[in-house]
Symmetry: D2
Subunit: 397 residues, 4 copies
C-alpha cells in the first residue's frame, strides 16, 4: 500500500453490520472515534436492498457497496493502491468468520474481527497459521479485555501489587435470553441460538469474554476446567448458562460463570483476582474504576484518567481520551482495539515491527484460547463435570 500511510486515515471496509445489527454500529463508531479510519465500503448484508440502504446511510460510494463479501474483497483488491482499503472489519455470525478472515488476510488486508474467532479449535489453529503467513495485523474484538482499567489491572498484577494470584472469580450474567425470544424471531437471538451459525451458545458468546478477561488480567492461561453447562430455556438449541471450576497456570483456583437467562441482568461482567497480599475487582458497569482491596489498610479505588494511573500503566495512559472522572464507555473499549491496531498497521505498512504497546490488543492467540476454552468446557460438562485440560497453550501451537 501507499507510502503515505502515516499522512492519511486508514481505509476500512466492513463485512456484515447491516440494518438491525447491533455490533456493526459499535464497530463503526469505535473505528470513527479517534479519527484513524475512514469507512469506504462494505458488504453489509447478503440482501441487495439492505446493503444498499446501509451504504446510503453511511454516505458511501455505491461502487464500493455490494451484497457479496467475496465481491467486496475482489473489487477492493482491484483498486489502485491509493484508493484500496487497508483493513477489513468482519462482524458476521460466527460460522462465517474463518472463511472471511482467511480470504481477507490472503488478499493482503489487515483484519479486525468479532469473536468467537472460529467454529472449532482446529480452524483457530489454521487461522493462526494464515495470520502468520500473511504478515498482516489481525485484531479480535474482546472489548472488555481492552478497557483502560483492565490494562491497569493487568499491569498492577504483573508488578506484584496484589502478590501471587491464588483465586480468580469471573462472572458474566445477562438476562436477554431469559425467555425464548428466538421463537419471536428476535434477530440477534435467532442466529446466536442456532448451532449451525453460532457453534456454541453462552459459552462461546460470553464465556469466552469471561475466560479471556481472566487470562488478560492474570497473565496466565486457564489450564483445566470442571464444567456444568446447561440449556435452561425449554426448546432452546444451544447452551444458555454455565459455571466452571478452573485452574490457572500457577495453580490458582477459581470460577468462571456466565448466563444468558439471568433475568433482570443487563451485561454484568465482573472479575475479581485475589493474590497473597490483596484482591482487585473490576465491574463493567463501573468500568472507569478499579478496586484494590488490602487486608490491613483502606481499600483503594483507582480512577481512569488520573496521573497516577498513567504513571503505573503506559498501556492504560495510551488509550485514555478524557480527563479524570469523565466517564468512558463500551464504545471506547472497542475503540482502544481500533486505535492500537491502527498504530500497528501503520508500523507494518511502514516496514517497521510494531512496539509492544502498539500490539496491545486481543489477537489470534486469544482466539485460539477462546476456542480451546469452549471445547474443554463442553467436554467436561458432557462427562459429568470431570476435569478436562484446556488446550491451546504455547506448546500446543
Amino acid at each position: 500500500m501507499t507510502a503515505d500511510i502515516n499522512a492519511r486515515k486508514l481505509r476500512m471496509v466492513m463485512i456484515g453490520g447491516g440494518p438491525g445489527s447491533a455490533i456493526g454500529g459499535v464497530h463503526r463508531r469505535a473505528a470513527n472515534l479517534d479519527g484513524q479510519y475512514d469507512l469506504v465500503g462494505g458488504a453489509f448484508s447478503t440482501d441487495e436492498t439492505r446493503t444498499r440502504s446501509m451504504g446510503r446511510e453511511l454516505f458511501l460510494d455505491p461502487e464500493r457497496v455490494t451484497n457479496s463479501w467475496q465481491d467486496l474483497l475482489d473489487r477492493e483488491r482491484a483498486l489502485p493502491m491509493d484508493r484500496r482499503a487497508d483493513v477489513v472489519s468482519i462482524v458476521t455470525p460466527n460460522h462465517l468468520h474463518f472463511e472471511q478472515a482467511t480470504a481477507a488476510l490472503r488478499l493482503g488486508f489487515h483484519v479486525i474481527m468479532d469473536k468467537p474467532m472460529t467454529m472449532t479449535l482446529d480452524e483457530a489453529y489454521r487461522l493462526r497459521d494464515t495470520v502468520r503467513a500473511s504478515g498482516r495485523i489481525f485484531a479480535l474484538t474482546h472489548p472488555y479485555a481492552a478497557g483502560v482499567m483492565i490494562k491497569l489491572a493487568r499491569d498492577l498484577v504483573a508488578q506484584g501489587t496484589i502478590g501471587t494470584v491464588r483465586r480468580v472469580v469471573v462472572e458474566y450474567p445477562q438476562g436477554w435470553l431469559a425467555r425464548r425470544i428466538e421463537a419471536d424471531n428476535n434477530r440477534q437471538a435467532l442466529w446466536r441460538t442456532d448451532p449451525a451459525l453460532a457453534g456454541s451458545g453462552c459459552v462461546g458468546d460470553i464465556g469466552t469474554h469471561a475466560a479471556n478477561l481472566s487470562e488478560t488480567v492474570t497473565g496466565m492461561r486457564v489450564v483445566s476446567v470442571s464444567a456444568d453447562v446447561g440449556t435452561v430455556v425449554e426448546g432452546r438449541r444451544l447452551d444458555d448458562d454455565f459455571s466452571v471450576h478452573a485452574r490457572w497456570e500457577n495453580g490458582a483456583r477459581g470460577s468462571i460463570q456466565a448466563s444468558q437467562i439471568a433475568a433482570g441482568e443487563g451485561n454484568g461482567l465482573s472479575i475479581r483476582v485475589y493474590g497473597t497480599d490483596a484482591g482487585l475487582e473490576w465491574r463493567h458497569d463501573r468500568q472507569d474504576f478499579l478496586y484494590v482491596r488490602h487486608q490491613q489498610k483502606p481499600w483503594e479505588k483507582y480512577a481512569r484518567g488520573t496521573e497516577y494511573v498513567a504513571a503505573i500503566s503506559p498501556a492504560a495512559a495510551r488509550v485514555t481520551r478524557t480527563d479524570q472522572y469523565h466517564p468512558e464507555g463500551y464504545i471506547e473499549e472497542f475503540a482502544n482495539i481500533c486505535l492500537n491496531a491502527a498504530a500497528a498497521i501503520r508500523a507494518v505498512e511502514s516496514g517497521r515491527q510494531p512496539t509492544a504497546l502498539e500490539l496491545d490488543f486481543p489477537n489470534v492467540h486469544d482466539g485460539i484460547r477462546g476456542m480451546a476454552f469452549i471445547q474443554a468446557t463442553l467436554q467436561s460438562s458432557r462427562t459429568a463435570s470431570a476435569w478436562v485440560e484446556v488446550e491451546g497453550g504455547p506448546g500446543a501451537e
Copy 2:
C-alpha cells in the same frame, strides 16, 4: 418453669464466649437488644481465672459462674424454678456442640447454639431426635438467613414475584485467613483451622451459611453438588476455599462459593436468585436493601423499615426495629433469632404451640442440612468433582 414466664425476662446462661471470643459478645448483645433475656450465669472458659473475669465484666452473681459447663448446667438445674435459667446459649468450638446441646436439652433447657451444628451428619440426626424428644426450643444461629431483607426475599420468591427459580449464585469471600495466622497463635484461627475442633474449614464455617441462605430464600434444598475444595495456604490443616456447582430441588442450577483466603475481603456474603421473570440480589454489606431486577422495567430497590415491605412480609415486619432507612446491622440479624426464639419459648412454656412466625428462625433441620452439605461437598471434591447427592431431606429424616 414458672407460670409468670410472660411477665419476666427469660433467664439465659452461656457456655463459651470467654475473654477474646468474638462470637460470645455478639450472642450476648443480640440477646440483650430487645430486652427479652437476662444473662444470669455462664461457663465462659475452662480456665477459672478467665471465666471469673468475664463473669465480673458482665456483673454476674459469682455463684452462677464456673469453668465447667457440666457444673453450670447441674447448678442451674438445682436452682428453684423461679431462679433457674430457661435457656442455654452455646458458643463453643464445633466439636463441643453436640455433647453440650444434647445435655442441655435433656436437662430441660431451651438452646440457642452457634453453627455448624455438629461434627458429623450422624450427630446431627441424633441431635434432631433429642430436640424432638425434649419438646424444647432449639435455635441455630445462621444470622444472615434471619435478616429482615432475607425474610422479605424468601416471601417474595414464595409469592412468585420473580417467577420460577432457575439460577442461584451465592458467594462468601473472606480474607482473614489469607496468611497462615494460626501459626501466629491467632485465637480464632487456631481452633477454626484445627480438624479436631472445627471438623471442616471454609465449607463448614462459612459454606454452611451460604448454602443455608440459598435454601432459605428459594425454599428449596440443595440436592446435588459438584465441588472443588482446596487448601490454599501452605501448611494449613483444613480447607480454606471452595466452589460448588449445585442443583436445587426443582432442578434450578447455580453456584455456591466461599473463600477465607480472598485477601482484602471482609465478610462479603451475597446471594442472587434468578427466576423466569426477574432476579433478586442481597448483599450483606448493604443488608438493609433488597434489589429486584426486572428484564423490561426499572430495577427496584426495597428498603427495610418501610410500610410496603411490612405489607409484603409479616415475618420481616415482626423483626423490624427502626424506621425507614435507619440502618440495622449484624447484631440485629442475630437478635432476630433471639427475638423469635423468645416468643417460641414463651409459647412452649405457656403450654401453647408456637405460631409459624414465632418459629421463624433457623433450627435443627437447618443444622442437618448444613452437615449434609459439608459431607457431600467434601466427598465430591475428593472424587474429582463428581456429582454427589446431598442427604438430609425430609425423606432422610
Copy 3:
C-alpha cells in the same frame, strides 16, 4: 449512690417513650445493647393505661411505673440507694426537655436526653449551668455524631490527614413529611409540626444533627449563616425545608441543607469535608465506611472494625463491637453514647474524673450549639438571607 457501682448494671428510668413512640424503643435498645443498663421504671405516657401497658411489655415492677414524670422522679428519689435509679432517660417532645432535665439533675440523677435540647437558647444556657452545678453526667443523643466512622473522621481531620479544612457540605434529606400527614393524625408528625411542642421544624429536628455533625468532624464551630428556610407543604405550621451558606471558625466555607419534604428520601444524612490535601465523605446509609479522596492517588475506603482504624482512632476502637465488615447500624450509634456515658457515670460515682475517651459523647455544649444554630438560621431567613452570627461559642458561655 452505692459503692458497688462498678459491680452492677446502672439503673435507668425513662420519661416518655410510650406505645407508638419511635425513639423510645431506640433509646431502650441502645441502653440494653452492651449490658451496662437495667431499665427499672418509667413514666412512659401521661395516660395511665398506656404507661401501664408499656411497663408490662418491658417486664417492669408496677411500683416503678407511673403516668407522671414528677411522681417517677420523686419515687425513685425516695428509694434506698441500693435500689434507686442512677440515670434518667428523657425522650419526650422538645417543649418538656428543659423542665424535666433540670428537675432530674437537681434531684441527683444523671441524664441521657433527646435533642434538640431545649426550646430556646436561653434555656440551653440555663440548663448548662444546672449541669455544671449538679456534677452529674448529661448526654445528648446526637447519634450520628457518635458513630464509629465519625469518630474516625474527626480524628483523621485533627491529625491533618486532609490538610486544612476549606469546604464543608452537609445534607440531610428526608421525605416523610412530603405530604401533610399531621392532618391524618400521624403521631410523630403531629407533635413535630406543632410550634408549641417542637419549637422549630426541619431546622430543629434534623438541621441540628447536620450542624452538629459538621462541628464534630471539623472540630470547629459554625460561626455565621445565610439561611433560606421555608414551609413547603401548604397548611403546615413549622418549617420543613432549609439551606444555609455557612462559615466555620477558620473561615471554611460551605453549606448545610436539610429537608423533610424530599419525597422518596429516607434518612439521607451525609457529610463531606474538603481540606487542602484531600476530601472525606461519610453517608449514613453506608455508616460503616469512610471515604477519603486524594487528588493524586487512589481514593480510600476505610472500614469499621479493622485494625488500621483502631490504630488511628482509639475513640473509634472503643465503641467497635463487631469484626471487620459485619455491619452495625443506627441503634449501635445510639448505644455508643450510652456506653461512654455509662463509663463516665461510673467514674463520677467512683469519685474520679472521667477520661476524655469516656466523655466522648454529645453533651450540654452541643445542645447550646444546636439552639444557637436554630436561632441564627431562623433569624437570617427572616431577614432575606442576611448573614447572621451564630452565638454559643466558648466566649458566649
Copy 4:
C-alpha cells in the same frame, strides 16, 4: 450549500483545540463518533508551528489549516460550495467566543460552540440576535444536559412522574484547582483563572452547567438567587467555590453548588429533583442510570438502552447507541449534541424546519440563561447574599 447535503458527511472546521487542549479532542471525537461530520480544516492555535502540527496529526489538507481564525473563515468562504465547510466548531477560551461565533454566523456557517457563551449578558443577547438573523443552527455544548438519562429525566418530570417540583439540589464539586496550579503554568488553569480570558471562574465554568442542568430537567428557569461566591486559594484571581439558594419558576426551592477546590473530587456533577410524589437523582459518575425514589414503594433505577426508556422518551431513544447496560460516557453526551445538530443542519440546508427532536440540544437561549445566572450570582454575593432576580427569561428577550 449543496443540494446533496443528505448524501454526504457535513464538513467541519475547528477554531481552537490545538496541542494540549483537552476540550478540542473531545469535540473532535464527539463529531467523529456517529459518522455525521468530516473535519476538513482548522485554526487550532495562533502559533503557526502548533496549528500545523495539529493539522498533520489529524491528516488534514495543509491548505485548510492556518493560525488565524479570520483567515480560516475567509478561505472556507472562498471555496466552492461543494468543498466549503458547513459548520464551525469553536473551542477557544471564553473571551473569543462572541466575536468568533458572530463572524462565523454572519459568513453563513452553522456553529457548535463551547460554553459559557460570551463574556457578558449583553453579548449573549446580541449573539442571540445574530443567530436569529442568520438562520443558521447554533449549538452550545452543555454535554451533561444532553445526556440520554437527562433527556429521560426531563421527560419523566414533564409527564408528571414525580408530581409538582418543589425542591432541586444540584452539586458540582471538582478538585483540580485545589492547589494554585496556575502558578505552575498549568495550561488549563492559566486561562480559566484569568479574568480577561475566562470572565468568571467556578460560576462560569461549571456553575453554568449546574444551573443549565436544573433548567433542563425541571423545564423551569432559575428566577432568583442568594449567593455565596468565594475565592478559596490564595492569590487566585477568579472565584473557585460557590453556593446559591435558588428559586425556580413555580416557586420551587433549592440549592446550586459548585467548587473547583473540593480536593479529591473529579467531576462530581449530580442533580436531585424532588416533587410532590417522588424524587429523582442523576449522577455523572453513573450516567447510564436514573434513580427515581418513591415514598411508599421500592426505589427505581432506570437503565439507558432499555425498551422501557425508549417508550417513555423518544428523545432519549434517538441518541441511544448501545444495547442495555453497555456503558456510554462523556464523549457520547457531547456527541448527542453533534448528532442532533447534524440533523437540524441537514433540515435547514434542505429548506425544511427542523423537528423538535432534531432541535433537542442546548442553544443560544441556554447561553443567555448561563450569562444571566453568572451575573445574578456574582451580584448577590457582592451584596452579602441578598436575593437577586435572574434575568434572561422569555420576557427579557
